[in-house]
């Protein structure tokens, strides 16, 4: 019981936890076998079909990328004119989902990359459609990603249309997020795209997180009841992208702190052998 308290309140057990995670990682390799097998046994015909589709997609995306490059250069020039600092672009790394945590109340995934491949705690995780979540537990060769739909996860977002800031809460339901504490006067509409605000100093700004699916006024309640659908394919994506921010994340103090939200305190880490990292 004391152990639970220590694990919840402090980071002293971090090394032990990461050792246990490393020890249990092979279990997920085994449970992933059927899925990896079906993928590799996919028929020849389907592979060809896939290949064709991917080529088309690649062409389309590279055309869009050309335009994006021009736009981002223009953006950098304009920002330089305005005297504001350029946006930090993250480096991308790829990882595969090897497991899904067997917990109907929470939402997390196991990735097949860990400490050894440079994954760190708090690292943002994306798929091709949007934000998935963040790394909360790192073992040597695997790590755990807390999805944005987990009830412990809160994502600071902007309404893309008008830059209205709000907090997006996970509910534990795979397809449901809630925008809480939004007053009745706020301009949020059904169909609005919510993107990461980057104000947390953790998620890179501007990535799609969710689409508002319903906005309801509850009589007698001070706030709107706003529901949203995650943009990322949280339950289906197998290949994910890890974003490494170029600036060391330890330098920035965690900007948002919510009750029970999973946030490490970077300055309070002491390794078990007594040395500071």
């Amino acid at each position: 019981m004391a152990m639970m308290a220590v694990d919840h309140q402090t980071r002293w057990l971090e090394a032990f936890r990461s050792a246990v995670v490393t020890a249990t990682a092979p279990v997920f390799v085994v449970t992933d076998l059927p899925y990896a097998a079906t993928e590799s046994l996919m028929g020849h015909v389907r592979l060809r079909q896939d290949n064709l589709n991917l080529h088309k997609q690649l062409l389309q995306l590279s055309v869009e990328a050309q335009r994006a490059r021009a736009l981002s250069e223009e953006n950098a020039r304009l920002r330089a004119l305005l005297g504001s600092s350029a946006r930090v672009e993250g480096e991308l790394a790829f990882a595969e989902v090897v497991g899904v945590a067997p917990d109907p109340l929470g939402r997390s995934l196991i990735l097949g990359k860990g400490d050894a491949q440079g994954v760190y705690q708090g690292q943002p995780v994306l798929d091709s459609d949007g934000l998935m979540g963040q790394v909360v537990e790192v073992g040597r060769y695997s790590s755990r990603v807390l999805l944005i739909t987990d009830p412990m996860h809160i994502t600071p977002v902007l309404v893309n249309r008008n830059d209205y800031r709000a907090m997006l809460y996970g509910t534990g339901d795979a397809a449901l997020l809630e925008l809480r504490h939004v007053p009745e006067t706020a301009d949020v509409q059904e169909g609005d795209l919510l993107v990461t605000s980057g104000l947390d100093g953790r998620f890179p700004p501007g990535y799609p997180v969710a689409t508002v699916s319903s906005v309801r006024r509850l009589p007698g309640e001070p706030f709107l009841d706003i529901r949203a659908r995650p943009a990322a394919q949280l339950e289906r994506s197998r290949h994910l992208v890890l974003v490494t921010r170029s600036a060391p994340t330890d330098a920035a103090p965690p900007a948002f702190e919510a009750d029970g939200a999973w946030l490490p305190e970077p300055d309070a880490i002491v390794e078990p052998d007594g040395s500071a990292p």
């Binding site: 249990t24 945590a101 109907p104 412990m152």
Partner: protein, 163 residues
């Protein structure tokens, strides 16, 4: 001949851990993830009952920590529940052996339900999850699975002459 016994016991526990972590396809309904039995608790309870001098609360705690790691719960949450299950098993293993499969299944239900409730209590404190009677579903499926698990594990125990 002590070493192989321990090996067999841990092999069954490992199998239980694999089943605990087993991944369901993305398109099965939510309900199925509630129906998953507490594999590790079942296997643990069997060994505590059959060879209480070998498998006790320390083993239970270790298995609990491993399950915590697999499910991503707070370290010690399952460990606490499993230690409780082992305690119940240790304190009444002589009676348990005399019971019919049906009576044993009932005890399985009660102990696992108790462990689940403690787990829920911890989660409610830490993560603020709301109460749902679904919490107890794994205890029901575990109890239903018990006769099968018991028969299989007993056959294994006799084959390897673990005592």
């Amino acid at each position: 001949m002590k070493f192989p016994d321990t090996l067999v016991i841990w092999a069954t526990l490992l199998l239980a851990l694999l089943l605990t972590a087993a991944r369901l396809p993305a398109d099965v309904p939510e309900l199925f993830s509630w129906l998953r039995p507490e594999w590790a608790a079942i296997v643990l309870l069997y060994w505590v009952m059959a060879v209480p001098q070998r498998v006790g609360m320390v083993t239970a705690w270790c298995v609990g920590i491993l399950v915590d790691s697999l499910t991503g719960s707070l370290l010690g949450q399952h460990a606490l529940g499993f230690v409780l299950i082992a305690f119940v098993g240790l304190s009444m293993y002589e009676r348990l052996r005399m019971y019919s499969l049906l009576q044993q299944a009932f005890i399985v239900f009660v102990t696992i339900a108790l462990a689940r409730l403690i787990g829920f209590w911890v989660e409610a404190l830490v993560r603020g999850v709301g109460w749902t009677p679904m919490i107890l579903l794994p205890a029901v499926t575990s109890a239903l699975l018990w006769p099968l698990a018991f028969t299989a594990l007993r056959a294994l125990r006799r084959k390897f002459r673990i005592a």
